[in-house]
């Protein structure tokens, strides 16, 4: 077999086409140019024309450059020597330390047989009431934070991540600003977990194609640890940058776009990554938290839209708060039946009332007369925002539930909140402000 090929017939976008034979689909290659060398991956075979996606970009690639095929698809070394290290999208160290020499594993493994999955059942306590009560996070869940530029989404990601009690933490950064990378690093350091963290970082300054490989690297390594029985947490930020890289390649390949320029297989591409989140039957687990910035704050944009159809819920971060509407943990019912008997009732009642409060606020804005009921809803809404939605809170689930009862009892009568009697009997605070007033004359009569 020839060692290299240099009959390049086309260079367009990030894709180079070369004449070669006996090459496997998806195979990896190295292209050497004046500027250095870059990894490349086969994305199309047609007779003797092989199209490759160049990870380092095609700027400066000449028709006479040499391409060497490696005979295997993309791989990543796997060993404990990865812990505490930082790599780029091609898997090269970016922390100035030597390369990791270890056995390699292929990225993009096939789907897990559903029979080999467990039903997740471990609640992750984040001490954020908007998550713990209303959108409970569960081990092995895949959950994105939907947000927009300027919101503290990376902070929330790191904060939740630190609470997750994972044995290995893997950060996949895509299109990250260097500052963000340093912030993550700082947070890991602060929490004392840097020694069990692995980072794969692509910054906004790096070649676009390398961005595409980040999730695969992070998830392949995570999967190996999970197979070893570890509980792994993978943080991915920002998956919109990943999707945009996909779009760029698809357009170069002249694929017919389906929606706002994104390729028709965006759903499949995202699903193949997110679905790596797993609780193995007979091994460990992998939880995936991701950030998805919504271009134009539009949740119907193809990236958040496709993501929402794939992930097990989503958290909306807006104005520094996790929004009660739209935020959802699809796995919550697997765990919230066993926390406390009022958990589900509170979860539903508080949100239903908050939705009604929204209507009363609209009324107020329109300048309509407010009924006594509206007034109480408004009072409730303010209390709920200050005391429950506030992201500065750092409290246990039960305390947070008690606080909800207090707020409800302060604003409503038991039959007004739509919770069934048995639960009310048990949890309605004994001395709510209203009842207190009614009862206060009693001692005098005695």
């Amino acid at each position: 077999m020839r060692t290299f090929y240099d009959e390049i017939s086309q260079i367009a976008g990030n894709v180079v086409t070369v004449k070669a034979q006996g090459i496997g689909y998806d195979e990896l290659a190295v292209i050497t140019t004046d500027q250095g060398s870059s990894l490349a991956q086969v994305i199309r075979l047609e007779d003797d024309q092989v199209s490759l996606q160049i990870f380092g970009g095609t700027e400066g690639v000449s028709t006479g450059d040499k391409i060497r095929f490696l005979g295997h698809s993309f791989q990543v070394p796997f060993s404990d020597a990865l812990l505490g290290r930082v790599f780029d999208g091609s898997g090269r160290p970016r922390d100035g330390r030597p390369e990791v020499k270890a056995q390699t594993v292929e990225t993009g493994s096939p789907a897990v047989n559903p029979i080999k999955r467990r039903v997740p059942d471990k609640m992750i306590h984040t001490r954020i009431p908007m998550i713990d009560i209303f959108n409970t996070l569960v081990g092995s869940q895949k959950l994105p934070i939907f947000s927009v530029a300027g919101e503290p989404y990376n902070d929330v990601l790191a904060r939740v991540g630190m609470q997750a009690d994972a044995e290995v933490i893997i950060l996949g950064g895509m299109g990250l600003r260097h500052d963000d990378y340093l912030t993550f690093r700082h947070r890991f350091d602060e929490a004392g977990v840097l020694g069990r963290t692995i980072m794969f970082i692509h910054t906004a300054a790096d070649p676009v194609v390398e961005c595409l490989l980040i999730p695969d690297l992070a998830l392949a390594v995570g999967e190996q640890y999970a197979l070893q029985g570890k509980n792994v947490l993978v943080l991915l930020s920002d998956m919109t940058a990943f999707s945009d890289a996909l779009k760029e390649i698809a357009i170069t390949m002249e694929q017919v776009p389906s929606n706002r320029g994104y390729p028709g297989d965006l759903y499949t591409q995202l699903a193949r990554r997110y679905e790596k989140a797993v609780d193995f039957d007979g091994a460990g687990s992998m939880t995936v938290l991701a950030c998805v910035t919504m271009p134009g704050d539009d949740v119907t944009h193809p990236v958040p839209d496709n993501t929402g159809y794939i992930t097990e819920g989503q958290l909306y971060l807006r104005n520094g708060r996790i929004e009660p509407f739209g935020s959802l943990s699809r796995l919550k019912q697997l765990v919230n039946g066993d926390t406390r008997d009022d958990h589900r009732a509170i979860m539903n009642a508080c949100i239903q009332l908050y939705a009604q409060c929204d209507e009363s606020r609209e009324k107020r804005e329109m300048g309509f007369e407010l009924s006594e009921w509206d007034d109480r809803l408004l009072q409730y809404g303010d209390l709920f925002e200050d005391e429950i939605m506030n992201l500065n809170l750092n409290i246990e689930l039960f305390d947070a539930l008690d606080k909800c009862w207090e707020i409800l009892a302060g604003c409503f009568q038991p039959e007004e909140i739509g919770i069934r009697d048995a639960i009310i009997q048990k949890h309605w605070p004994g001395k709510s402000p209203k009842k207190e007033k009614e009862k206060s004359p009693e001692p005098v009569q005695v």
Partner: protein
């Protein structure tokens, strides 16, 4: 060179051949490590053959060998399908897990039926009998059913039974009969046969107009937007609105013989839920595990895309097969949009001219053909059987004005549209009561349903009006209608899928509660002001919601009017029941409260009359 790969692009391969090929026949691409990847011929142009590969194409090379078969992609049919968990190509997943481990490695195929297991065969025909395609030759017990072993569906004309196996215990591969045609050609029949999944399987005297309600135990569906056996319906909705949960509870409580769940391109976790839960859950009507009436076909989002397309067809073919035995089958597909996207991906690779949102031009006809496979039929022996199809649709951006939703709406008999605002407000199931429709008649008298629908529409108008004129500008009569609509919504339409009692409401209970609600809706309450009206209706709502959590008491309905199948009493847990209250007792309280309101209204009416009289004097 003959039959070799010319090009590879995603899951599409172009092969070159100088041999005869059959469009839609299957074949294998042979990787140079010997692994064979299943594929389907989807286009033939000259000596070029376009193949869609049902596996990841990683490692395939130009020049690799290709094998073709004459047979189209087919489902294996026979006893032993019930309780199985298959991938889209009908490979049993538990066996794959046993043989291959954690991951679905490409190129592993396992026969769909266990060929070692034996079945108790009883012949139903004798030598000399004349039979046609689909006629029962004998039967074996499978789960709670008598599984008919039928003459091959592909037979044309009449055949004479030459030999029949005696009563006994045989594996599916056993030759149980030989049949000869008029010209003396004979064929051997086993308990197992196959059928191409893309061709409808229907051997019947005639198709019937479907009219018998398919009860799901979901109130808003059965009472307001019913489905019938042999009908079709769709559930479009944005992500998180509750499509999957709705299908899950339907798959548990639907009153049909067999449920086939096709998890098509959605989350693996959701199937795992079902796989793990169903064997533990009891079918209250049979006392057996739910799994025994269920088949799961699972081609989730991370599994190869082309097999997604196959999965819905495999599902419907199995459904049709059991229909041939006289059973009522429900096929649930979640989500048909992923199937449509699979078509889009392959069409894009074929460089076909794209239609709207890059979907292929034949999208509509494919969807129509799929739903057309649902039907109530009269078999040749007079038995009525049915396949009902319910599919979810996942429209991009939650906007129903997109090709898949629109194409589906044209062909289905009922539309359960989920709304984002309802799910945001936790009004589950989030089926929009104003947008949704059904062309079928359900378990509630249509006139009563119409009354309620009108009230819901009127209530909505008043609510909208109120955003313009405010509460102060709304007459109390209108305000009360709005409150009554709201009461119906929270006390009847909303239903807690995760509560063991509220999750499923039987026919008798739905009828009983619906009537009670009508009483409230039609009652002429008189309120002194809007606050009193609101308080009162909130209180009534709260009483009804509590009532929904109380276990049903069959004795409130006279025996002659009952339609529910008798329940297996032994499994009802007593302890959790007491806390929930007694159905009859709560009914008494509701009646009493409503009566007190009506008395008050009568009195105040009288008072005003008295006053008027006095004034007159």
């Amino acid at each position: 060179m003959k039959r070799r790969i010319k090009a590879v692009f995603g899951n599409m391969v172009v092969a070159q051949t100088d041999e005869r090929v059959v469009k839609n026949a299957i074949g294998y691409c042979v990787r140079n490590d010997g692994i064979k990847l299943l594929c389907e011929i989807i286009r033939v142009r000259g000596d070029s053959v376009d193949l869609q590969i049902f596996e990841e194409t990683r490692g395939l090379r130009v020049g690799d060998h290709v094998e073709f078969q004459e047979q189209m992609l087919s489902a294996v049919l026979g006893p032993g399908l019930l309780g199985q968990i298959y991938d889209g190509l009908q490979n049993p997943l538990p066996e794959l897990a046993e043989q291959v481990g954690f991951f679905l490695q490409p190129g592993n195929y396992i026969h769909a039926l266990d060929t070692e297991r034996t079945w108790d065969w009883s012949p139903k025909v004798q030598a000399g009998a004349v039979v046609q395609a689909g006629d029962t030759l004998g039967s074996v017990p499978e789960s709670i059913f008598e599984h008919h072993v039928m003459a091959p569906f592909g037979l044309e004309g009449q055949y004479t039974v030459q030999t029949v196996a005696e009563k006994g215990s045989y594996p599916v591969t056993k030759e149980i009969a030989t049949l000869t045609d008029a010209s003396g050609n004979s064929i051997a029949v086993t308990m197992e046969q196959s059928w191409p999944v893309k061709r409808p399987l229907c051997v019947a005297k005639r198709r019937l107009l479907p009219t018998k309600p398919m009860v799901t135990s979901v109130r808003i569906i059965d009472s307001m937007f019913p489905i019938v056996r042999g009908g079709t319906y769709c559930i479009p909705g944005p992500f998180g609105a509750g499509k999957t949960v709705l299908q899950q509870i339907t798959s548990r409580h639907a009153q049909v013989d067999i449920v086939i769940i096709t998890a098509c391109g959605e989350r693996a976790g959701e199937v795992v839920d079902t796989i793990r839960e169903f064997p533990k859950l009891q079918d209250p009507r049979t006392g057996k595990s739910l799994m025994e009436r269920t088949i799961i076909i699972c081609n989730t989002s991370a599994m190869p895309v082309a097999a997604r397309d196959a999965s819905v067809y495999t599902g419907v073919t199995l459904a049709e097969y059991y229909r041939q035995m006289g059973l009522n089958v429900l096929l649930l597909a979640d989500s048909t949009s992923r199937w449509a996207q699979a078509m889009r991906e392959i069409s894009g690779r074929l460089e076909e001219i794209p239609g709207e949102e890059a979907f292929p031009a034949y999208l509509e006809s494919r969807i129509a053909n799929f739903y057309e496979r649902a039907a109530a039929i009269e078999l040749r022996d007079g038995t009525v059987a049915s396949v009902t199809i319910g599919g979810t649709v996942s429209p991009a951006g939650g906007n129903f004005d997109e090709p898949v939703t629109q194409a589906t709406l044209k062909v289905v008999g009922a539309f359960h549209g989920l709304s984002r605002s309802r799910s945001d407000a936790r009004r589950y199931p989030a089926i929009d009561p104003l947008d949704s429709w059904s062309k079928y008649v359900g378990i509630i008298d249509p006139q009563k349903v119409e009354k309620i629908s009108q009230m819901l529409r009127r209530g909505d108008e008043i609510r909208q009006m109120m955003t313009v004129v405010g509460e102060e500008g709304t007459p109390i009569e209108d305000f009360t209608i709005m409150l009554k609509a709201e009461f119906f919504d929270s006390a009847y339409l909303q239903q807690n899928a995760f509560d063991e009692v509220d999750a499923a409401t039987s026919i008798d209970r739905q009828r009983f509660v619906f009537d009670k609600i009508l009483e409230v809706v039609e009652a002429d309450f008189i309120f002194k002001d809007k606050d009193e009206a609101r308080r009162t209706l909130k209180k009534i709502s709260s009483m009804f919601i509590n009532w929904n959590y109380a276990p049903w008491d069959t004795s409130v309905v006279p025996e002659s009017e009952r339609e529910d199948p008798p329940l297996d009493k032994s499994k009802v847990k007593e302890d959790s029941q007491t806390e929930r209250g007694d159905f009859k007792e709560m009914l008494g309280q509701i009646d009493q409260y409503i009566q007190s309101l009506l008395d008050k209204a009568n009195n105040s009416e009288k008072e005003t009359e008295d006053e008027l009289e006095q004034l007159a004097v």
